[in-house]
């Protein structure tokens, strides 16, 4: 930095020698000095930049890792109400905003010191001219801060609107079957055009500010030059400064322009970065609602008895789903959960591995409250096959291995056989290494569901929860799967949400839920006999069953 300050000064000395060549040899010394100063300066810039970048990129990568890990730990209830786009923004645009400021920090600090020193040097050379030239510092700082400050609002809007637009595109692509089924391309196009148009408004708002302020960044230094020309010229004529000093002034102005602009930009961006930082901070500070107990109880090996004591559950938005459900599933037995659409079957199933915590009451596995067990232990003992199939866009084998990363190839195949997926997987050109499209798009619905089932049974859990896990497979395959399930079910507790009587025939007991309450619990046949509503929900009335 010191070198930046000395170079214009040396220019001044050289010019003075040119005007008054009494001692020409010094010119060469000074010029040599300038080259030396230039090299030192180059090395300085290089190191400063490199380490500035390194520091800020490192920080960015670390924070991004933390955000990701944190998101992975946040409870279902958080993800229910937080959009993907919002979380993406935290880990991308907010974070870059933060990184920029970090990268600029050392440079800005150095610049501020430089302005002070330069102004001092200028004032020492000539107080009048020094003051005139130094006026440019506040003027340019003010202009660039004002510009950045005005633009911040627009660029924030712009960011917001861009993410809305990307949401429109994302939804259109994900829901393309629906769009095409109803020929609603025009509706989607309308949504997109609207977003594009408001993006245009923000962009033009920004353009206006840019048009007003940007030219100032040239004009202000030029005005500085004019002022130096007028005031300095007169002072040269008066003999107060030498012509060399005069030229040195013009050179100082030239080298300060860029640092001044950057500094102004830095200060104007501070509030925006602070906002981004606080958003990130808020996310990281939000503790997962479901977390490990302070003093975890070890879940000792056991038969897998599940006991629900007076369980009630209400979603955070106030939707009451379960109300005082009490039931005991003896270890090693299987239970079917039956209820109308939206009765709360999935919700009930989700309470066992603590995807949500009960609002009231308690759930115990082998006598231990699930809230007292470490989450990873609990969830490794409870395996869930979700009602909605989600596959990662990787190979089929990888998707099955999500259930148990340690599983051998043989175990993966065994699980696939059990889920009646092995045959169709082998029929694919690349077998288990076939990469399925996003969310498994290149598989048929039933094929996807069977891969997801294989994922659920590849490990050896104490409790297996199947939420309507065969809804999309045909009757023959379903019967085969049920046959296979009989083996799987032995020796573990199995909870099966099902609508089909064929499935209910293989479970030991059925829990029938209606109106948020447990209406009946017992073997399928006895419920059919004793609880008329049960038969109605299954539509297993006389005429139906007779066919």
């Amino acid at each position: 930095m010191a070198t930046i300050i000395t170079i214009p000064y040396m220019v001044g000395i050289v010019i003075d020698r040119a005007v008054d060549p009494s001692n020409p040899s010094i010119v060469w010394t000074v010029l040599g000095g300038m080259v030396l100063a230039g090299s030192i300066q180059a090395v300085g810039i290089s190191l400063r930049r490199y380490f500035g970048f390194k520091l800020s990129y490192r920080a960015e990568a670390d924070v991004r890792n933390r955000i990701f890990a944190h998101i992975q730990r946040m409870a279902f209830s958080f993800h229910d109400v937080t959009s993907t786009g919002e979380l993406m923004a935290r880990a991308s645009s907010d974070l870059s905003q933060l990184r920029l400021i970090l990268a600029m920090l050392p440079i800005t600090l150095a610049n501020i010191v430089m302005f002070l020193v330069v102004s001092l040097v200028l004032v020492v050379i000539d107080p009048v001219l020094g003051l005139v030239a130094s006026l440019m510092v506040p003027a340019l700082l003010f202009a660039s801060a004002r510009f950045a400050n005005r633009v911040v609002g627009y660029s924030f809007d712009l960011q917001q609107r861009l993410s809305e637009l990307s949401h429109v595109v994302e939804e259109t692509v994900s829901g393309i079957e629906v769009v095409k089924s109803y020929g609603q391309e025009a509706q989607q196009q309308g949504k997109l055009d609207h977003k594009a148009e408001i993006i245009y408004d923000s962009a033009m708002g920004m353009a206006k500010e840019r048009a007003i302020h940007r030219p100032l960044f040239e004009i202000i230094p030029a005005l500085g030059t004019v002022a130096v020309l007028a005031v300095g010229g007169i002072r040269v004529v008066d003999g107060a400064v030498t012509i060399g000093e005069f030229v040195a002034f013009t050179q100082y102005l030239a080298v300060m322009v860029l640092p001044l602009m950057i500094t102004g930009w830095f200060f104007a961006n501070l509030p925006r970065s602070a906002a981004a930082a606080s958003r990130i901070d808020r996310l990281l500070e939000t503790a997962p609602e479901i977390r490990d107990p302070r003093r975890p109880v070890d879940l000792k090996p056991g038969p897998g008895e599940i006991k629900m004591e007076n369980v009630s559950f209400t979603y955070p938005d106030g939707t009451e789903v379960l109300n005082g459900v009490s039931l005991t599933i003896p270890g090693g037995t299987s239970v079917g959960i039956v209820g109308g659409t939206g009765a709360g079957k999935s919700t009930l199933a989700h309470l066992i591995p603590r995807f949500y915590d009960v609002s009231d009451g308690a759930i115990l596995i082998d006598g231990v409250d699930v809230r007292d067990v470490r989450l990873d232990q609990l969830r490794s003992e409870v395996s869930v096959v979700f009602q909605e199939t989600f596959l990662f866009s990787s190979t089929i084998a990888d998707n099955i291995r999500v259930g148990d990363p340690m599983a051998s190839d043989e175990q993966v195949r065994a699980a696939a056989r059990l889920a009646r997926a092995h045959d169709f997987i082998c029929a694919m050109p690349e077998g288990y290494d076939t990469v399925v499209g996003e969310r498994g798009a290149t598989l048929s619905g039933g094929q996807r569901q069977r891969v997801s089932l294989a994922r659920g049974v590849v490990r050896d859990p104490r409790v297996l929860v199947l939420d309507d896990a065969t809804s999309s497979v045909d009757a023959v395959v379903e019967a085969e799967i049920q046959e296979a399930l009989r083996q799987v079910m032995s020796g573990r507790t199995t909870v099966i949400v099902a609508h089909r009587t064929s499935t209910l025939a293989i479970v030991d007991n059925v829990a029938f839920i209606e109106g948020g309450e447990l209406v009946a619990f017992g073997p399928h046949e006895s419920l059919l006999r004793d609880v008329p509503r049960y038969g109605e929900v299954l539509a297993a009335t006389e005429e139906g069953a007779g066919l």
């Binding site: 692509v173 259930g403 064929s502």
Partner: protein, 591 residues
């Protein structure tokens, strides 16, 4: 390969072709563009005059001791600056106007083109990639439009202008500077190559980071269910680290280039001074000329640095254009042919498949020898093993794909001869995954019929027997369904998707396992509602349940992509061994 992508015909190496094509897409922007160009040229020319005025001030004023000449020069300079301010502001604004307007047009064009593409295209594209066409790629054009274009033009003009001005002021000194500038150019080109590679890598890596992030968020429930948080985080960490490395490679390139430029600038000043002072001593040059020259020097280096930045922006903009054009050149496999016509009203609703063959990839035939005739008002059930091709059949009926051979018809007219509008008005498909858009329940119900009144919505809801349920929701029709409808249970989502289809009121309806998550009682209600709402309509129902087959007028059994049996339920029991087996399995289940 039939579905090979035609993207990538355009290379960034053919910038001319790209730019010409980009210009041809625009409309109504010629005059604003010319205006922007003239403002930019004016601003640059005026700027170039500045140092000459300073020279005058020094030589006429300072050297001769004439204060009024100094003030006159200052006055003239201020005047020039006023002109320069307005010209620059105008140029900034008008270039942005042209650029932004253009992007609105481009976005709309690309999206409408994308919407016309067939389902095959969508199933083999990653949604993240398509989203990034419409966002990241267009944003890099946006960056170029708002920053790069003005910079490119004015800096280029400045460099040329300054070179000319320097030459005019003093040729020898100019030549010395040009020598150094040549070095600068070489250095810049080397930097450019390196930086472009580095930035390409950064872009690629950030794409991977974002894709992994997105999947980590959408799949978070599965991750947690199987306690894979740790392994997910370490996978992400690895990808994130590669992004960091890419960033650092770019940082290294930048870290040597700019210091070298700064050093060269000092060398240029030193050489100008070395030559200049000796000539001032000789008396062959005035001090004013030397100062003017030094001022010009500054305007030489900054623009060249700027240009190398702009070149970066330009490269990404061209790369983005190439990708966008690649998307626009994607062949529309399923297109409305010229001369397509509408179905004759009233639409009868007969559906026909004649010797249809189909494959997603050319090597494996998913459907073959399909001959089906569905009569007006008939209700046909399609049954068969998972993966046998039932959904594919439904997709062909909707013309999501065209058959590899054979014909699919409505009322005897080949779908290929029909206008899209007419076909879509006649048919509706309720796909296996009834996708809901984030927004309110009302928006989702009225999706197929924008502007439907609340009364219409309630009517359909009550015929389906779910009005009560909707009334019990906290915000009723205004309930936010959240991403993919995650506010609802799986069955509730299917009910909404069904209601949406009934509201569309088509002549032919295709239900692809649209009730698989419903409990039997609700399913019954929906089926009854279907009969009421679609009385006299043709329906094709894909289902895995006996009851749907029994209720149908006719059942078609598909096996490995071919029709195994076709007839009424009773005929098939008698005539098809496979069907009889299937029914037996069903009945065992019901017992």
């Amino acid at each position: 390969m039939k579905y090979m992508s035609s993207a990538g015909d355009y290379r960034v190496e053919q910038p001319g072709r790209l730019i010409v094509r980009a210009a041809r897409i625009s409309h109504g922007l010629r005059w604003p563009f010319i205006g922007a160009l003239s403002a930019t040229v004016t601003a640059t020319l005026v700027r170039l005059l500045g140092p000459l005025v300073v020279r005058g001030g020094i030589d006429e004023g300072i050297t001769l001791g004439d204060k009024s000449a100094i003030l006159a020069a200052a006055g003239i300079y201020v005047g020039l600056l006023v002109v320069q301010y307005f010209a620059t502001a105008l140029s900034q604004w008008s270039v942005s106007y042209v650029g932004e307007r253009y992007l609105v047009q481009l976005r709309s064009r690309v999206f409408s083109r994308m919407l016309r593409l067939d389902m095959g295209f969508f199933s083999r594209s990653k949604s993240g990639v398509l989203v990034s066409r419409m966002t990241a790629d267009i944003e890099s054009l946006q960056e170029f439009a708002s920053d790069g274009a003005v910079m490119a033009l004015s800096n280029l003009l400045t460099v040329v202008g300054v070179a000319v001005a320097m030459g005019l002021v003093d040729l020898t000194m100019a030549l010395a500077v040009f020598g150094i500038v040549t070095v600068l150019l070489v250095v810049s080109v080397i930097f450019q190559r390196q930086a472009r590679k580095a930035y390409d890598r950064v872009r690629e890596q950030i794409g991977r980071v974002l894709a992994t992030l997105q999947e980590g968020i959408t799949g978070v429930r599965v991750v947690q269910a199987f306690t894979q948080e740790g392994s997910q985080a370490s996978t992400f960490g690895r990808i994130n680290e590669q992004h960091f490395d890419a960033n650092m490679a770019a940082a290294r390139a930048i870290s040597w280039y700019f210091p070298v430029v700064a050093f060269l600038r000092v060398v240029a000043v030193v050489s100008a001074l070395a030559i200049g002072t000796s000539r001032v001593i000789d008396g062959t040059m005035t001090i004013g000329t030397l100062v003017a020259f030094l001022l010009y020097l500054d305007w030489f280096f900054q623009p060249i640095i700027n240009l190398s930045n702009v070149y970066n922006l330009l490269q990404s903009a061209l790369a983005a254009l190439a990708k966008l054009f690649g998307l626009m050149d994607e062949k529309v496999e399923v297109d409305e042919r010229p001369g397509a016509y509408d179905l004759a009203e009233p639409v009868r609703g007969e559906v026909g498949f004649t010797s249809v063959e189909f494959s997603y990839d050319s090597d494996v035939a998913v459907l073959h020898d399909i001959d089906i005739a569905v009569a007006q008002g008939e209700r046909v059930a399609i049954v068969g093993e998972t993966g046998s091709g039932k959904s594919t059949l439904a997709k062909l009926a909707m013309r999501f794909y065209d058959p590899s051979s054979g014909r699919v018809t409505i009322d005897g007219v080949d779908l290929k001869d029909l206008t899209h509008r007419s076909r879509l008005e006649a048919m509706a498909l309720i796909p296996q995954d009834g996708f809901l858009f984030s927004g309110t329940l009302r928006e989702n119900l009225a999706y197929a019929k924008p502007g439907a009144s609340d009364d219409e919505l309630w009517e359909v809801l009550s015929v389906m027997g779910i009005a009560q349920w909707v009334r019990s929701l906290p915000d009723q029709l205004d309930t936010e369904v959240r991403e993919r409808g995650s506010r609802f249970s799986a069955g509730e989502r299917q009910l909404v998707a069904l209601a949406r289809a009934f509201l569309a009121d088509p002549s032919i309806i295709v239900l692809d396992e649209a009730t698989s998550n419903l409990d039997p009682e609700t399913e019954e209600k929906v089926e009854t509602a279907l009969a009421t709402l679609l009385a006299g309509r043709t329906s094709i129902v894909i289902a895995h349940r006996l009851r749907s087959a029994e209720r149908a007028d006719r059942v078609i059994l598909i096996d490995s992509g071919a029709i195994e049996a076709d007839g009424t339920h009773d005929e098939l029991i008698a005539g098809s061994r496979r069907y009889a087996e299937l029914v037996e399995v069903w009945q065992r289940g019901l017992a």
